[in-house]
């Protein structure tokens, strides 16, 4: 019973998705908690985000970063990861 509960705990991955600038505007939030199946990738998290209100206005292949470094959409997410959806940058 105790073991079963621990397995259930391990069977979901909770991450934080951050949205910036125009992406925060379309989604209407700059921070979203996502609950994903183990082994989920950045691409899976984007699919999840697109199912939310305004999420369908995100572009097909946005730049993404995990834990402060740019990351591919195939990157597997770990519990507690910080995923950032990065609009076209305009610094300088």
């Amino acid at each position: 019973m105790h073991l079963h509960a621990a397995n259930e705990y391990l069977s979901i991955v909770t991450i934080t998705a951050l949205l910036f600038a125009s992406y925060a505007d379309v989604v209407g939030a700059d921070r979203v908690q996502l609950t994903l199946a183990p082994g989920s990738t950045v691409g899976d998290a984007l699919t999840e985000l697109r199912a939310r209100a305004g999420g369908n206005r995100l572009p097909p292949k946005p730049l993404t970063a995990v834990n402060l470094s740019y990351a591919e959409h195939t990157r597997v997410l770990e519990p507690g990861d910080e995923l950032a959806i990065i609009p076209p940058v305009a610094g300088g």
């Binding site: 951050l18 910036f20 600038a21 125009s22 505007d25 970063a65 402060l68 470094s69 740019y70 950032a84 990065i86 609009p87 076209p88 940058v89 305009a90 610094g91 300088g92």
Partner: protein
């Protein structure tokens, strides 16, 4: 070597002083400033926002790459965030090196990488009262 985001105006003279040492023969300073016209629209000011933690890390990575390529650690880069007016300095890059070719190349590398990689966004306010997020490289000093 130093890189930072700054909420306050950038003091160019003190940045130049940071890299001055007698082994260097060449210093290149790049300043990006807020232009009054961008893509034909009259601009009144600009608001820079950043994914601050990542922007700090990314700026540090860019400076390290430039240092490794050029062979100098006399590099300082500061990027403003917050609200800027016309003519305000948005980014300052100082590179000092014994030789000028390397100083120019490192300076240019840093600004090009900032334009490509730094998670910073800007919203321009226009003289007609509207404001808009600026697309990559549709930027004030293109």
């Amino acid at each position: 070597m130093r890189s930072a985001l700054a909420r306050d105006p950038i003091d160019v003279s003190s940045l130049l002083a940071e890299v001055s040492q007698h082994g260097n023969g060449a210093t290149v300073l790049f300043l990006g400033t807020v232009r009054d016209v961008n893509q034909g629209r009259a601009v009144s000011g600009i608001e820079y926002t950043a994914y601050e933690e990542m922007a700090e890390s990314e700026l540090e990575r860019i400076v390290c790459e430039a240092a490794a390529q050029s062979g100098t650690t006399d590099i300082v880069v500061v990027h403003r965030i917050g609200t800027l007016g016309l003519g305000d300095v948005s980014v300052a890059i100082v590179v000092a090196h014994p030789h000028r070719a390397q100083a120019y190349d490192a300076s240019r590398y840093i600004i090009e990488e900032i334009k490509k990689r730094l998670p910073v966004w800007k919203r321009e306010a226009y003289v007609d009262g509207t404001r808009e997020w600026v697309r990559a490289e549709a930027v004030s000093h293109g």
